[in-house]
Amino acid sequence: MSESAIDRSKMTISDEVAVQITNMNKWYGQFHVLRDVNMTVMKGERIVICGPSGSGKSTLIRCINRLEEHQAGQIIVDGTELTNDLKNIDKVRSEVGMVFQHFNLFPHLTILENCTLAPIWVRKVPKKEAEETAMHFLHKVKIPEQANKYPGQLSGGQQQRVAIARSLCMKPRIMLFDEPTSALDPEMIKEVLDTMISLAEEGMTMLCVTHEMGFAQAVANRVVFMDQGQIVEQNEPVEFFRNPQSERTKLFLSQILGH
């Protein structure tokens, strides 16, 4: 994954705000998972969120499409504030794509049906059109020939690429990735990262929780380091890796890059 091969021409950051998180707090019962998180994501940004396990990084991006509810503060996604209003939540969810660690494909539907389900039922797209869009994105993630198979017949890497295609079929403005390569065999990580890189090359706004530091260096414009539910440090990737400021960040980087 050499940096030189990546086309950065479309990776421009606009001055339009995609996600605005202000003083956001979240508790699991008594446990304070997210403490006073502030974050502004501009359109076109590629942000990598890293940190030790239990630092709240997955919880943070799951709050952005309300898979987790926050108890204090404000989250505004694409101009819509996330509150208890179900209509707003469904609106945000249909604009924000999410890719999970364990793919979460629907095992009772074919690959094609996985991709067309949400466009047909949420966006009310005609079936034929939805299928064309789905095939387009399956081509993009390089597995159109698997369209009529079931998820259980595919390898982990293929399933994760289908999951990305499924999200893209909703034409999202923002993509969230929750440790997309953590459940994959080493041989399959690359095919998924390549898909994500090509997505970045097209200017998609991406928030990605990952331990793939190579990916962070290659495509991210900002790396966010979290610990104990707080944002400890953020910087552009070259500086972040070369010259970390806080002790926590230095320790974390020495542990994951040390060997």
Binding site: N65, L67, R93, M98, N104, P107, V122, Y150, Q153, M170
Partner: protein, 435 residues
């Protein structure tokens, strides 16, 4: 080569046949019947028991008598043909009384009505059971309940037609209000509107149309129903009504809304905590006290309602097991794609949860169908006890013991075995996880 540290394989080994003593009949016998002293003893004892049973049952079946007018005549024929002291089955009883086992006391000249209802039932069930049939057939399935009711009980054709219109009212109200009030509330209002239709408008409207256009069949009373006709009417109706009700109860039990959850849990736990016979007595006696004195609420209908409640409570728990087996990720993926609650349930959750629950659901159905014989306790003519008693109270068949039960049991077995095979076929067909 073994004492070298480096080793490179240049040629991969091809697979080979297993050794000859590891295959064939000998291996099977040794592994399954005679694998050790204990197993050898058990095998020999088992064979002895099977032989002893066969030695007693086979002559009894071989000495069957099909043509006789009474049990006494049967015994004479057996004694004359096979010698004094020989035993034999007297199927002549079945030959003479089969129609009562099938139809009870349903008027004989109208047997065509339940018979055609029975065969049309398969046409109605086909599109539900097999998804490769034309989808239009589902319309016949939708009208079938009214048609079957009319064929079986007779009376004016307009009563079932007007009753079916109640569902149209429910659906119409629901579609009109759905976008404005949301799914649960508009479904509730639709249900209330339909209940109003059935309880208040149904009677006068049906008789008004009937007075203009009198089309109808001779009425048959519920107490003339009996045998497998009764079992199948109760069983099939309760099975088809308890599945949707069970799904709603299972979802209600998991609901975030306190009232819905409490009601569902209360209903399920109450119904499951009470024997079915108690509910049947409630149907036959207690309901009479609560209903206004002039209402004539049919006994079969009352039994069907309570049997449905009973089965729905069990099915709700079976489906809850299926729901619990679904990974959380499935709900999250459905949410993340923007599907609303009912879409997620219908498209993602239920297809998978029901598939997992198929064995449990079908077990409940089979249990329910066999439990229909319990209606004997409220004075209905079930095929096992009710009809057999009728047959044995005839002086000609007094003392006949095994044959009625074997006959009724065989029919029950056929139906239940059919359900079981269908469920296994369905499980195989829906298996897409390729584990």
């Amino acid at each position: 080569m073994t004492d070298q540290l480096t080793f490179v394989r240049n040629q991969m080994l091809p697979p080979q046949e297993p050794p000859i003593r590891e295959a064939g009949v000998v291996k099977w016998l040794r592994e399954n019947l005679f694998s050790g002293p204990l197993n050898t003893i058990l095998s020999v004892v088992g064979f002895a028991i099977i032989l002893w049973l066969a030695a007693n049952i086979i002559p009894w079946l071989l000495h069957s008598v099909w043509n006789a007018n009474s049990l006494g005549e049967c015994r004479q024929i057996i004694a004359a043909t096979w010698g004094e002291g020989a035993t034999g089955a007297c199927w002549a009883m079945v030959r003479e009384r089969w129609h009562q086992y099938l139809f009870g006391f349903y008027p004989m000249d109208m047997y065509w009505r339940p018979t055609s209802a029975f065969f049309l039932m398969f046409v109605a069930l086909a599109p539900v059971l097999y998804n490769n049939l034309p989808r239009k057939m589902i319309w016949f399935t939708a009208v079938y309940p009214a048609l079957a009711f009319w064929l079986l009980w007779g009376g004016s054709v307009w009563s079932p037609v007007v009753a079916m219109l109640g569902f149209v009212v429910m659906g119409g109200v629901f579609t009109l209000l759905k976008d404005r009030l949301g799914v649960p509330l508009s479904a509730g209002i639709g249900f209330v509107a339909a209940a109003f239709w059935w309880l208040v408008l149904q009677g006068p409207l049906a008789s008004a149309i009937h007075s203009v256009l009198p089309i109808g069949l001779t009425s048959v009373d519920s107490d003339q129903f009996g045998g497998f006709l009764l079992s199948i009417v109760i069983g099939v109706t309760a099975i088809s009504a308890s599945l949707p009700m069970g799904i709603l109860l299972a979802l209600g039990r998991q609901s975030d809304m306190l009232l819905v959850r409490t009601l569902s849990v209360g209903f399920i736990e109450f119904i499951r905590g009470v024997p079915l016979i108690t509910l049947l007595f409630t149907a036959s006696l207690l309901l009479q006290y609560f209903l206004p004195p002039e209402t004539n609420f049919d006994i079969i209908l009352r039994v069907i309602i309570l049997v449905t409640f009973f089965a729905a409570a069990y099915i709700a728990e079976v489906i809850r097991g299926g729901l619990a087996a679904l990974p959380r990720g499935q709900y999250e993926a459905a949410d993340a794609l923007g599907l609303d609650y009912w879409q997620a349930q219908r498209l993602i959750v239920m297809p998978q949860a029901l598939k997992i629950s198929i064995p449990g659901i079908v077990s409940s159905f089979i249990g329910l169908f066999k439990d229909t014989t319990l209606v004997a306790f409220v004075g209905l003519m079930d095929p096992l006890k009710g009809i057999t008693q009728v047959v044995r109270s005839d002086i000609n068949w007094k003392g006949i013991y095994w044959e009625p039960y074997l006959f009724a049991g065989a029919i029950f077995f056929l139906i239940c075995f059919g359900m079981s095979r269908y469920s296994m076929w369905l499980e195989r067909k829906l298996k897409t996880d390729h584990r």
